[in-house]
């Protein structure tokens, strides 16, 4: 039987499970053109 503490650690790991955004390629340097900018709310906000 899994010890209670281990089950708790496993649970917290499940809660913090990395998703595909965490696994995406790092982008440290943002060129000024791709810096965030307040565009219209009507514009598409997903690529």
């Amino acid at each position: 039987t899994m010890p209670a503490e281990m089950a708790a650690q496993l649970e917290s790991s499940l809660l913090n499970c990395p998703d595909s955004l965490d696994a995406d390629t790092p982008k440290l340097y943002q060129t000024p053109l791709s810096l965030p900018h307040p565009t219209s709310i009507f514009f598409p906000n997903e690529t």
């Binding site: 499970c17 990395p18 998703d19 595909s20 955004l21 696994a23 995406d24 390629t25 060129t31 000024p32 053109l33 791709s34 810096l35 965030p36 900018h37 565009t39 219209s40 009507f42 514009f43 598409p44 906000n45 997903e46 690529t47």
Partner: protein, 187 residues
């Protein structure tokens, strides 16, 4: 070790007693394979691990950037965008703002849809308007008047009926449509 051992698996009613059927007898894998992008016909075999977002569907919330390589020929293009013999760059608002007007419509549409919420989306919006394109707020597409035909303004002046050219971002092409255009729907 005999056949009777299989009964708890096979009998549906008392499943809870012994085994979790989804892990013993398993499940129909069709939806799982589909979620992986694996087509059932073997010869259509596309590799999936190179773009594997995450082991679970629930955490595969977005596509992940796969391994890619930018060939020299994509970066070493002299004499375009006023770059002279150097490589073209397009990464600063001050210097490169003017270059926007050198781009074709499709390039502007690409930049607009590819970089949401960024400076470049704003710049392409302004440039497309200059070219008499208008952005439709609810359809979320760009359109412009069909030069061959003058639209008819509706009485009351809130809208017009005419023939317009739309840019369809799904099919990535311009298409002509007859359409009733409400002036408050575009920007």
């Amino acid at each position: 070790y005999g056949l009777k051992a299989l009964l708890p698996l096979i009998r549906r009613e008392d499943q809870s007693a012994d085994y979790d059927p989804s892990m013993t007898l398993g499940i129909d894998l069709t939806p799982v394979l589909h979620s992986l992008g694996i087509s059932s016909d073997a010869n259509g075999r596309q590799r999936v691990l190179d773009t594997f977002p995450s082991p679970w569907v629930e955490t595969s919330r977005s596509e992940v950037e796969p391994r890619f390589f930018i060939p020299e020929s994509f970066t070493k293009i002299p004499n375009i965008l006023q770059s002279g013999s150097n490589n073209p760059v397009f990464n600063s608002v001050q210097q490169d703002h003017a270059k926007i007007s050198l781009f074709q419509d499709e390039t502007l549409f690409y930049l607009f849809y590819k970089h949401p919420g960024s400076v470049v989306q704003e710049l392409t919006y302004l440039e497309l308007r200059k070219r008499n394109w208008r952005y439709h707020k609810t359809l979320k597409v760009w359109l412009t008047k069909d030069p061959m035909m003058e639209p008819v303004v509706a009485p009351g002046g809130a809208s017009e009926r005419g023939s317009y050219v739309f840019f369809d971002p799904q099919r990535w092409e311009k298409c002509q449509r007859d359409f009733v255009l409400f002036y408050n729907a575009i920007m």
